[in-house]
């Protein structure tokens, strides 16, 4: 009789009986071996602007080959991609694209980077790891768009071949993670700190969900944690919630809330604060934190103007942290 397996990839530590699946829906116990059902089978593959991730301080204005497989190890009630993240592979069409083919496609489409995004790359870990390894050998950069809910050992292994970690910090509240995401906070914080320690370019997204994590005290606590643990130069993106999935009854985040969050973040000492999912004229611009002059002008996902000179502000010469070309 085959044994029960315990998956050690993420903090859920799923016990998977023979023939059963993990909580992510894609890691299965077949013949006593843990198998990845979606390895090599993305359900979505597109050339996106890097700003759509959002990643603002890494190769701005470039396209990135972006992919996901079905499934997720979180179950956020507000998930905007729930039609692929909260589905079984049996329910979603996929195409066979092995890692080497992804690298080829990135080159054919003039993409200097690969992005593992839309759902969480943690659940298609082996596929992401192999693709990142091949991509790096071919001179491509690797971007993980993740909720950071992963154990330290596999995270370290994946970060060795990653250039950018775009990590969601959904709240600085255990209760929010438990009630809204069916997860826990500490592993996420550990992942953010680990990514910074391993010298990845880190950008943090905080989705503001109306009534659930939009209080001034919550926002201040979150910004203070970022300043103390990853530094003032980490770009922070406040993103507007759109009523979706199991939180469709809540109103969308008002733009005033996003502006208030930006004020709190700046007061906490963060240098690069952006607003996303909203039409606001200066929401996505990068300003020099010393002289406050515009260095990169953006609208939507487009770069309108890049005034950086060798990574520095053209007006005062201050170095703007990032990888610019």
């Amino acid at each position: 009789m085959a044994a029960t397996l315990q998956c050690e990839l993420c903090p859920r530590a799923c016990l998977i009986a023979p023939g059963g699946r993990g909580d992510c829906r894609v890691r299965v116990n077949l013949d006593g071996k843990l198998r990845a059902l979606t390895y090599g089978y993305p359900c979505t593959l597109h050339v996106d602007p890097i700003e759509k991730k959002p990643v603002f301080h890494f190769l701005p204005g470039t396209p990135t080959l972006s992919l996901a497989t079905v499934g997720c190890n979180l179950h956020c009630k507000n998930c905007q991609n729930w039609e692929i993240s909260q589905r079984n592979p049996e329910e979603v069409v996929a195409s066979e694209v092995p890692p080497a083919r992804l690298v080829e496609l990135a080159r054919q489409n003039a993409c200097p980077s690969l992005s593992f995004t839309y759902t969480d790359p943690v659940i298609y870990y082996e596929y992401a790891l192999d693709t990142c390894t091949l991509g790096r050998a071919a001179g491509l950069k690797n971007i993980l768009v993740t909720a950071g809910y992963i154990n330290p050992e596999p995270a370290r292994e994946l970060f060795r071949v990653t250039d950018v970690a775009r990590i969601d910090l959904k709240a600085l509240s255990e209760k929010f993670y438990r009630d809204v995401c069916d997860a826990t906070l500490k592993p996420v914080l550990d992942t953010i700190v680990l990514a910074k320690e391993m010298k990845l370019a880190v950008e943090i997204v905080h989705l503001i969900v109306t009534t659930l994590n939009d209080g001034d005290a919550d926002l201040k606590k979150l910004c203070d944690w970022i300043v103390q643990n990853v530094g003032r130069d980490v770009p922070l993106h406040f993103s507007a919630f759109q009523p979706q999935h199991k939180l469709a009854h809540l109103p969308p985040t008002p733009v005033e809330t996003l502006r208030r969050a930006r004020d709190i973040a700046r007061a906490a000492g963060l240098h690069y604060v952006y607003l996303g999912n909203v039409l606001e004229h200066d929401a996505a611009n990068t300003y020099c934190h010393k002289c406050n002059k515009l260095v990169i002008g953006r609208t939507g996902f487009s770069v309108l103007e890049n005034r950086l000179r060798a990574g520095k502000c053209p007006d005062c010469g201050t170095e703007i942290p990032g990888v610019w070309n």
Binding site: A36, K52, V93
Partner: protein, 64 residues
């Protein structure tokens, strides 16, 4: 029939060994085997279509 001390101890030892082996097999079946890196399943269980390389050039509809 008289049970000699040596036979009695032998029977006790055999019974203990049998219990130990049974318990070990029971535990082995139930205690989970820890596993980190999954192997490829080799076959996607859902519907598959060929990659549309023209559709790929457009930005994705999903967030992120």
């Amino acid at each position: 029939m008289e049970l000699k001390r040596r036979n009695f101890l032998g029977a006790c030892g055999a019974a203990l060994l049998a219990c130990g082996a049974g318990g070990w097999m029971w535990l082995r079946e139930r205690a989970p085997v820890r596993w980190l890196i999954a192997v490829r399943a080799g076959r996607y269980p859902g519907p598959i279509r060929p990659l549309d390389e023209n559709d790929l050039k457009k930005p994705g509809r999903w967030l992120g």
